[in-house]
């Protein structure tokens, strides 16, 4: 396993004490695999992603284990973690427009990302090179990276500022900066949400190609079942900080067990027009860590009195398939 997340629990500081946004999340990702984290907004997906990178600021508390290539990221010092970010595990943030600094050219931003990790070792190795030579070496590498993410005419594009780019181009540039430190592991936080549908497909293909060519493992965070269906191998469904179901994407699509997974699937429009998409009533409750029992019970069509008692256990119901719902407790 390249990444093994076990029992990840994250508390975020709020005015009324700590809020347990992520509660005992576990999953694992193999090299070259695309793993999906699925759920509505406000259910803890992004907090999970930021916890993996330890980007939630000094006041947030994360416990559990995030083992990347045999090393627990949560145990690293801040300096060691900084060295790991970008070089071993990189993030593609949600919005491509705001993820790029408006004050610098695209090429300079990719160059900076290269220099951050190349800096220590690379400068010594290239110690003989003069300053301008090193700059042009880095610049050439930046152009290569831009070409690698499917930007046409990368030499010219590198000279441009982000506001001169379209959303899809920005997203490709963001991916290029994420790849600059040659990480093995990529976290893509809603990589296509801010984009046009036509462009989304291009980005999905790009990520899929990078996975195959570079052997990258990718954690894709999304609320879109259709996107995950397209290229993720396995996925975990998150609701209110809990993993409610975990299986291969195919299983989740064919035979979802948890009522929440079923409800999410019912939200996907059916092109045949046979079944109208059904929205899930209600919202993710804001302070969900205070709820007793199953956190989905308020919105669940199958809810019973027992649901509000204890939090159901995550039960294995099949090969690589677990679900957290009392409906399946009898199956054992």
């Amino acid at each position: 396993m390249l990444l093994q997340v076990s029992n990840l629990t994250t508390d975020l500081p709020t005015r009324e004490g700590y809020f347990r946004a992520v509660d005992g999340v576990s999953f694992s990702v193999q090299a070259g695999e695309v793993y999906g984290l699925l759920g509505e907004s406000g259910c803890g997906k992004s907090v999970t992603a930021l916890s993996l990178m330890r980007l939630l600021g000094p006041r947030a508390r994360a416990s559990g284990q995030v083992v990347l290539e045999g090393e627990d990221l949560l145990q690293l010092s801040e300096a060691e973690m900084r060295a790991a970010r970008g070089a071993r595990i990189a993030l593609i943030p949600q919005s491509p427009f705001t993820a790029l600094d408006p004050a610098h050219r695209i090429g300079d931003q990719v160059s900076e990302a290269i220099r951050v990790h190349d800096g220590a070792a690379g400068a010594r190795r290239r110690g003989l090179l003069r300053c301008e030579d090193r700059r042009s070496v880095v610049w050439r590498r930046a152009v290569e990276l831009l070409a690698g993410v499917g930007i046409t005419e990368p030499e010219e594009a590198a000279e441009h500022y982000p506001h001169e780019f379209s959303g899809g181009m920005c997203q490709r540039a963001v991916i290029a900066t994420a790849l600059a430190g040659s990480p093995r592991m990529l976290i893509a936080d809603e990589p296509t949400t801010a984009l046009d549908v036509t462009v989304q497909r291009g980005i999905v293909r790009l990520l899929d190609r990078l996975r195959r060519e570079l052997g990258l493992a990718i954690v894709v965070i999304s609320h879109d079942f259709a996107l995950l269906a397209e290229f993720s191998d396995r996925a975990a469904v998150l609701y209110a900080g809990h993993v409610v179901e975990r299986a291969s994407t195919e299983t989740l699509l064919r035979s979802p067990l948890h009522p929440y997974t079923q409800a999410l699937l019912a939200c996907v429009p059916d092109l045949d027009g046979q079944v109208a998409p059904t929205p899930i009533p209600g919202n993710v409750p804001p302070r969900y860590d205070r709820l007793a029992g199953c956190r989905f019970s308020e919105r669940c069509p199958h809810a019973r009195a027992e649901c509000r008692g204890e939090v159901p256990k995550l039960r294995t119901v099949g090969p690589e398939h677990s679900v957290r719902c009392i409906l399946y407790d009898a199956v054992e």
Binding site: R85, G168, A180, G181
Partner: protein, 292 residues
């Protein structure tokens, strides 16, 4: 495959700046004053300190004076034009020195407070609040009265109060910029805090700081003139516009030119700097740039 949408060459600052005629004019005026300041000994027709009691209160050339003294002479017969040209030197030199000083101090402290937050921010911001509680001119007057007039004291007093504006703008900019996603993205790439401030945050607050620098320059020129008018700033024989206005005050009904021309010089320079400041703001803001 999605293509580049806009392929306009990066527009230069100058072209953006000169889009409006007023800004172009302001630029010319400011450049002219800077030229006066830089080349005062070459441009001034006479020694600004040379007294000539025969020419006492001599009116401007077109009002009955001589063309060798185009703007007339003051109450002790010194050439007004020469004194105004030398006065530009005082005003601009003082303005530039003070703005640079306050900019460096204010931006540095403001960035530290904005990025570090918590205790550092609270302590610095309270100090700033105390300074802000005093009206600028009253504070400067009081300080000058205590320290005594003189160039160094003038710089110290104006700078002591001036950095507060840069502090507030820098702090606010850093606080809003550090919440931006590209800063988080930079952290996700493994950049350190110092490096993020230098390469991501400072370039983005440059437009705001530049505009503020222009506006501060105007304020400082006025403050210097005010203090010199009251006799607490620049001391004779160094020519200063504020001092010249004061010297002409008793003669305002009989020899209007003594106070009027330095006053015009102040007004022109300050208005030009302000227009230039606004032009800079529009030109530097990448979001206001028309890409057509």
């Amino acid at each position: 495959m999605d293509k580049t949408v806009v392929s306009a060459p990066a527009p230069t600052l100058w072209r953006d700046l000169l889009r409006h005629r007023a800004v172009g004019l302001a630029l010319v005026v400011v450049a002219l004053f800077i030229l006066c300041a830089a080349a005062a000994p070459l441009l001034a027709p006479h020694d600004p300190a040379h007294l000539d009691l025969d020419r006492r209160l001599q009116p401007p050339a077109w009002a009955g004076g001589e063309w060798s003294y185009p703007l007339g002479c003051d109450q002790v017969g010194r050439d007004l034009l020469s004194r105004i040209i030398y006065g530009a030197r005082t005003s601009i030199l003082l303005g530039v020195v003070i703005v640079l000083l306050t900019l460096v101090v204010g931006v540095a402290l403001g960035s530290i407070a904005g990025y570090a937050g918590s205790v550092v921010d609270i302590v610095l911001s309270r100090i700033v609040d105390v300074l802000l509680a005093f009206p600028f001119l009253v504070f400067a007057l009081g300080m000058m009265a205590v320290l005594g007039p003189g160039l160094l004291n003038l710089i110290l007093v104006l700078a002591f109060k001036g950095w507060v504006d840069f502090y507030r703008v820098a702090r606010a900019e850093v606080m809003s910029l550090k919440a931006q996603e590209f800063v988080e993205a930079a952290r996700a790439l493994g950049l350190s805090g110092t490096r993020i401030v230098i390469s991501e945050i400072l370039p983005n607050m440059l437009p705001a700081v530049t505009v503020l620098a222009a506006l501060c320059m105007a304020t400082i020129i006025i403050a210097e003139a005010s203090l010199s008018f009251l006799g607490l700033g620049i001391q004779p024989p160094t020519p200063s516009w504020g001092m010249m206005i004061n010297e002409g005050r008793p003669y305002i009904l009989t020899a209007w030119w003594i106070s009027t021309f330095p006053g015009l010089a102040i007004a022109m320079l300050v208005v030009a700097i302000n227009i230039l400041g606004e032009g800079l703001r529009d030109a530097l803001d990448p979001r206001l740039k028309e890409t057509s």
